[in-house]
């Protein structure tokens, strides 16, 4: 995949020095190999119990005839809940039991262990997916864009670029007030297709995983079961235990510093001091454009 190619009308040049000559097998060392596999036939509620029991970031979904695994993340669950909540919130609980994971998960990209990291990131950008599956013998492993960054940070790859935070950070940080409800938060994240939202008064970031962690807490699950509308009307201060403080850096911070700070802890987010720009793992794909 060397040379010039187009993604959504934009011309990209390959050969970014950050990605070096690394391959997917190098990144696999940073992937979580303990993530359990779940069947596509499982109801969504059962998958939620998997998230709850093991405090996972995602689940690998298997069982398709074509043998391409899927991935179930907090964002999938959130999107599912939002769709049902928008039309028939009273049916939320039953929907969790009657909808299979097959109807909710994303298919992953497929990658070979010998594929270059640059090609992997390019493929992720082209398909708009932050996960790729790698098959080694009979077992699937998932590599996420965050795993790629962890690897690049540890290998010192970001030292090879002179780019600054502002060069690839996304302008326009979406935020919601603490008086907003859970449903309004879901609406913002699903409609804008984002996984991170700043909670204004708290100066913290809630992610799709944070929302999921809140929903699978004992109390929220009981409320979801007994009174779904009440749960959807929950003010966002209930979610603050599941939100995290972003790293705040100056606009001119070197990318090597920005990504090093980003991978340290959840919510894996860097904000500029003026709070106008946000750096997330997905912004790594912009390194291709910058090239």
């Amino acid at each position: 995949m060397n040379g010039v190619f187009k993604v959504r009308g934009k011309v990209l040049l390959s050969g970014c020095p950050v990605f070096g000559g690394y391959t997917v097998i190098d990144v696999l060392r940073y992937a979580d190999r303990t993530v359990p596999l779940i069947s596509i036939d499982y109801p969504v509620i059962k998958a939620l119990m998997g998230f709850k029991g093991l405090d996972l970031h995602y689940l690998v979904v298997v069982g398709r005839q074509e043998e391409v695994p899927g991935v179930l993340t907090g964002y999938n669950v959130m999107t599912f809940l939002y769709k049902i909540a928008s039309t028939n919130p009273e049916k939320l609980w039953a929907a969790l039991y009657k909808t299979s994971v097959y109807d909710v998960d994303w298919l992953t990209l497929q990658a070979e262990t010998t594929m270059s990291v640059e090609d992997l990131v390019t493929k992720m950008l082209m398909k708009g997916r932050g996960f790729a599956s790698v098959r080694i013998e009979e077992r699937f492993y998932l590599v996420s864009i965050l795993d790629v960054i962890r690897f690049l940070v540890s290998s010192g790859a970001f030292e090879r670029t002179s780019h600054r935070l502002l060069d690839i950070a996304t302008r326009g940080v979406l935020s919601v007030g603490m008086d907003s409800t859970l449903f309004e938060l879901l609406e913002v994240m699903v409609r804008k297709r984002i996984r991170r939202v700043v909670l204004e008064e708290e100066d913290c970031v809630v992610t799709d995983r944070g929302v999921l962690q809140y929903i699978i807490s004992d109390q929220a699950l009981e409320t979801l079961r007994d009174s779904p509308k009440k749960l959807l009307a929950t003010p966002l201060d209930a979610l603050t235990p599941y939100a995290g403080k972003p790293v705040i850096l100056g606009e001119d911070a070197p990318l090597s510093i920005a990504f090093k700070k980003l991978v340290e802890k959840e919510p894996y987010t860097v904000l500029t001091q003026d709070r106008k720009h946000i750096l997330t793992p997905w912004d790594t794909t912009k390194l291709l454009k910058v090239s």
Partner: protein, 308 residues
């Protein structure tokens, strides 16, 4: 009331006492698998031939065994019928026979011939009579001889006797139909109860363990969840003394998938909708094998893990 609530839940519930009874039947069974459990003594009292607790009577034991028959944990077959006195209940009854027409006991056996009109003619009369005393027809067509009886008091001829019994203890006397009767049955295990007692099946093993610990156990309880999904709960064990109820889901092994499964059920089932459970209600994932780390995960679901 408690027992009624439990009975409604499923086809099988079992107490420690019932399990002990099943074991006794199993140990005493002969080649055909049946045990003669009862007899009647000279006073007409039912006596148990297997050991019964001091606080229990043979009649109570019979009730319990018949209840196990109703639950299909025992099968029973006819063993004997004992006639008893309506006056004193004793079993020392002397049989008597009497004429069905006049009631006189002066009735003797006699060969009889049956005329085509239905008339019974005693053997002694065949030589004397020239025609049927009832229809006047020719006696040549009379068939016989057959067994019959002739009353010396009224002269009636009959095929049957009136049978009376007289109690040697109190003197009560009546026709045999009016005597009391006790039917004794022999008992044996059914396939289901045999499997509960000896099976290596994890559910059956668990039943044995729980029942011996004083729990009343219900098997295969079907219930509908709040979502509308239907579930079968493998076992519900209730201890009314300690006010503890345990809801068991039994697996081949307990790992993440199994814990996810039980957590899903636990969330969806309103415990107040389960008849018969009392006190502190715990959900238990039980299996002959438990994967490493399962107990830690189980804690996040507030589920107990138990090795069978």
């Amino acid at each position: 009331m408690m027992q009624w609530g439990l009975m409604k839940l499923c086809s099988l519930n079992l107490t420690a006492e019932e399990l002990a009874l099943l074991n006794k039947i199993r140990n005493a069974a002969g080649e055909n698998g049946l045990v003669k459990v009862f007899d009647v003594n000279a006073e007409g009292a039912i006596v148990a031939l297997i050991e019964v607790g001091e606080d229990s009577s043979a009649e109570e034991l019979m009730e319990k065994l018949d209840m196990l028959v109703d639950k299909r944990l025992l099968r029973s077959e006819f063993d004997a019928k004992i006639l008893t006195c309506r006056g004193c209940g004793g079993r020392k009854l002397m049989p008597k026979t009497a004429c069905p027409l006049c009631g006189s006991e002066d009735i003797v056996k006699s060969a009889v011939y049956v005329h085509r009109c239905g008339a019974l003619i005693p053997e002694v009369g065949v030589g004397r009579l020239v025609s049927c005393p009832k229809c006047g027809g020719d006696l040549g067509s009379a068939e016989g001889p057959e067994h019959g009886f002739v009353c010396n008091a009224c002269g009636a001829t009959s095929k049957w006797l009136r049978v009376l019994v007289e109690c040697l203890s109190c003197g009560w006397s009546d026709v045999v139909e009016n005597a009391g009767q006790i039917v004794l049955r022999r008992y044996g295990l059914t396939e289901e109860s045999l499997s509960i007692l000896v099976s290596a099946d994890p559910v059956k093993k668990l039943v044995r363990r729980l029942v011996s610990k004083g729990y009343t156990v219900l098997c295969g309880v079907r219930i509908r969840g709040i979502s509308g999904a239907e579930y079968t709960l493998d076992l519900i064990a209730v201890n009314t003394t300690d006010l503890v109820s345990k809801i068991y889901i039994v697996f081949e092994k307990v790992g993440l998938a199994e814990l996810m499964d039980i957590a899903v059920k636990k969330l969806d089932i309103d415990k107040n909708s389960i008849n018969g459970v009392v006190g502190n209600i715990r959900w238990v994932a039980a299996a002959p094998a438990i994967e490493p780390g399962a107990e830690k995960v189980a804690k996040t679901f507030s589920v107990d893990v138990e090795l069978i």
